[in-house]
């Protein structure tokens, strides 16, 4: 198998899926010749043409609304939202229209669409271009939320999201785009709603999302040297959540650390901690630790940014605290 990057895996999936089903098309800001702010769609307009790779004005709510209308008529639009932060402009169309339409119409409509968008910080572009706001969509029934953490996962999960008949929020990560992995050339799917154990362990369960999975794996590797056996679980989709797999891991280890890039208050790990507390009450030997960004906007300067976003040091510290070693 060949190694390709996360960004290349997304591009390959888009190319293969759009070729396979003429109801599928992508639209977004500068997805054409520019190739997208992170180069994900470079070359696609050449191979697929401007009807399939549509450049739009800078009109985020409008773009999402257009996708909804097209989806209502049976198309399968894929929106590229240049930065996940800009989703804040689209919460009404996403959460009030796309998410609720089927229910409001008594089950008589389908809104098959995907919104792909890069989240997260780390590249020095400050408070309005570095957020992790996936948690903002957790409370909006009708949506599915996917957060792939590797090149292999992103291709298979994107394929599933595109073929899903519901609106899917698909959060990529700026710092994952260049990470490489063996990825099959052929099309394949990874089911939505199924978590994965990224590393087996027996002492403690670390549940992490997106780029934090990679950081957690590094920490697990390091602590293995000391004989601390860390199990790293990646929910892969935070809604629906595969609580069974996560809970069984926590029941096995009796210890849990939850890692995400969102702020301490209001992110996905709040819900996850509540769920683990409910499902594993009698199995937990210590309080759950949550490792998150600080409750402040993402600052511009690099060191400040790294002080806000959780690093491996903080993950390790949390593990040691929970295990008391």
């Amino acid at each position: 198998m060949r190694e390709i990057s996360y960004a290349e895996a997304v591009r390959e999936c888009l190319l293969q899926e759009i070729k396979a089903d003429d109801k599928i098309f992508m639209l977004g800001e500068d997805v054409g010749l520019y190739g997208g702010a992170f180069g994900v769609s470079i070359g696609l307009i050449g191979e697929l043409g401007p009807e399939k790779i549509m450049d739009t004005p800078i009109s985020e709510p409008g773009i999402v609304g257009v996708a909804i209308g097209a989806a209502l008529l049976g198309m399968r639009p894929i929106v590229e939202m240049m930065f996940s932060d800009f989703l804040m402009l689209t919460v009404e169309q996403v959460g009030n229209q796309a998410a609720k339409m089927r229910y409001m119409f008594g089950g008589k409509a389908k809104v098959p669409m995907v919104i792909r968008t890069p989240g997260g910080g780390g590249i020095g572009i400050a408070a309005q271009h570095s957020q992790s706001i996936e948690g903002l969509f957790l409370g909006l029934p009708g949506l599915k939320i996917v957060m792939p953490s590797s090149a292999y996962d992103v291709k298979g999960l994107l394929a599933s999201s595109i073929s899903d008949d519901n609106p899917v929020m698909f959060f990529e990560h700026k710092l994952l785009y260049q990470t490489k992995q063996d990825v099959p050339q052929e099309r394949y799917k990874i089911p939505i709603g199924v978590a994965e154990v990224k590393r087996q362990g027996s002492d403690i369960t670390v549940v992490a999302t997106s780029f934090m999975v990679q950081k957690s794996l590094k920490v697990a590797e390091k602590l293995a040297g000391e004989g601390i056996s860390v199990e790293v679980v990646d929910p892969r989709t935070i809604k629906p959540l595969d609580i069974d797999l996560i809970a069984s891991s926590v029941k096995k280890t009796g210890h849990a650390v939850l890692v995400e890039e969102a702020c301490y208050t209001g992110g996905f790990t709040c819900f996850l901690a509540a769920e683990i507390g409910k499902n594993c009450f009698d199995w937990l030997d210590a309080p759950i630790e949550r490792v998150t960004s600080l409750d402040c906007p993402i600052p511009y300067e690099h060191n400040l940014e790294n002080a806000v976003i959780p690093g491996e040091d903080k993950i390790e510290k949390a593990i040691r605290k929970v295990l008391n070693r």
């Binding site: 709510p61 773009i63 009030n96």
Partner: protein
């Protein structure tokens, strides 16, 4: 009245549709007062000509998106009065199984992509439908109904721009009924004609008498061929008037005494059209009386159907969230 001659069948259909809308809305109001309807609804009484004229100028398979004041659009598009009334009564037999209610009735099979509880909320959805129509080569036209207030929503602006640059087969049909809830349109826009908004996107804009059903019908009818041929989106402002309160719960503190009555007496779209039909000898007063009776009968059947329909099954409340 505009005198472009139409065959009698269409003239009758226009009147019958307006009568359906008027009497449907009166029935909703009555049944709300009787306590049969919980929640609220926004009545289109006085605005029958816009819905009837615009929608009947379309082909059956053309599409519309509607608003919170959407009963008229829905009826004109051919919805089943029974299923509509049942939905407003919150019954399991309603279009949305009682889950949507007045503000969320949709009948995709008849080409109604849905009412919307969010002012301007369907502006881009309609553009997306028009985009799909182009991609699928189905040759349909989309009418996006809007209130005057919704032209001040950002998403309408974004959608109108996309409709313009992509030449979408889309008509923004703005029913300017003089108010956005309690706000006089003139206090929230600085325009002689709301259709001047079209100039900002270089699309065709026109302002017409929304209480003249033939003016509405002919305007849309004449525009549709070019719109269908994707020669450019259009913004129509139809000037009309909201006879009733904003919603069933509006105390109307803001409205000058007698303003509504004046409009009804002088510009009622139904009375005006009746006069025209009689004078043009298309219908006799007797014909019209019969038509009115038939319509009322249909409405009463719809009310009966709604009242006799079972309430939704609570055990199914969490269904229909995901496909």
């Amino acid at each position: 009245m505009q005198n472009q001659i139409l065959d009698g069948t269409m003239l009758k259909k226009l009147l019958e549709t307006m009568l359906k809308i008027r009497n449907f809305e009166l029935a909703v109001e009555r049944n709300f007062q009787l306590g049969h309807i919980y929640g609220t609804a926004h009545l289109a009484i006085g605005q029958e000509a816009t819905a009837a004229g615009a929608v009947l100028a379309l082909k059956d398979n053309d599409l519309i998106t509607s608003t919170h004041r959407g009963h008229g659009h829905c009826i004109a598009k051919g919805a089943d009065l029974k299923l509509m009334m049942a939905e407003i009564f919150g019954r399991s037999t309603g279009y949305c199984k009682g889950k949507g209610g007045s503000m969320h009735i949709a009948d995709i099979s008849s080409g109604n992509l849905g009412a919307n509880g969010i002012v301007g909320g369907s502006s881009a959805i309609a553009a997306g439908a028009a985009l799909a129509v182009k991609k699928l080569f189905t040759g349909q036209v989309v009418i996006c109904f809007l209130g005057d207030g919704s032209l001040n929503q950002g998403i309408w602006h974004e959608a109108a721009n996309m409709a313009s640059i992509w030449n979408l087969p889309l008509i923004y049909f703005c029913e300017n009924n003089g108010y956005g809830m309690g706000m006089p349109t003139a206090k929230v826009t600085n325009l002689e004609k709301l259709s001047d908004r079209a100039k900002g996107y270089n699309i065709k804009g026109m302002t017409i008498d929304g209480n003249d059903v033939l003016a509405v019908y002919n305007t849309v009818k004449n525009l549709v061929p070019d719109v269908r041929a994707a020669k450019g989106a259009v913004l129509i402002e139809a000037v009309t008037y909201r006879i009733k309160g904003h919603s069933l719960r509006d105390a109307q503190r803001y409205r000058p005494e007698g303003e509504a009555k004046r409009w009804l007496d002088m510009y009622c779209p139904i009375e005006r059209f009746k006069k025209y039909l009689i004078q043009e000898k298309v219908l006799t007063p007797g014909d019209i009386a019969n038509m009115q009776n038939d319509v009322i009968e249909k409405i009463e059947e719809a009310v009966k159907f709604a009242l006799e329909s079972p309430l939704p099954d609570i055990s199914k409340v969490a269904e229909d969230v995901y496909a």
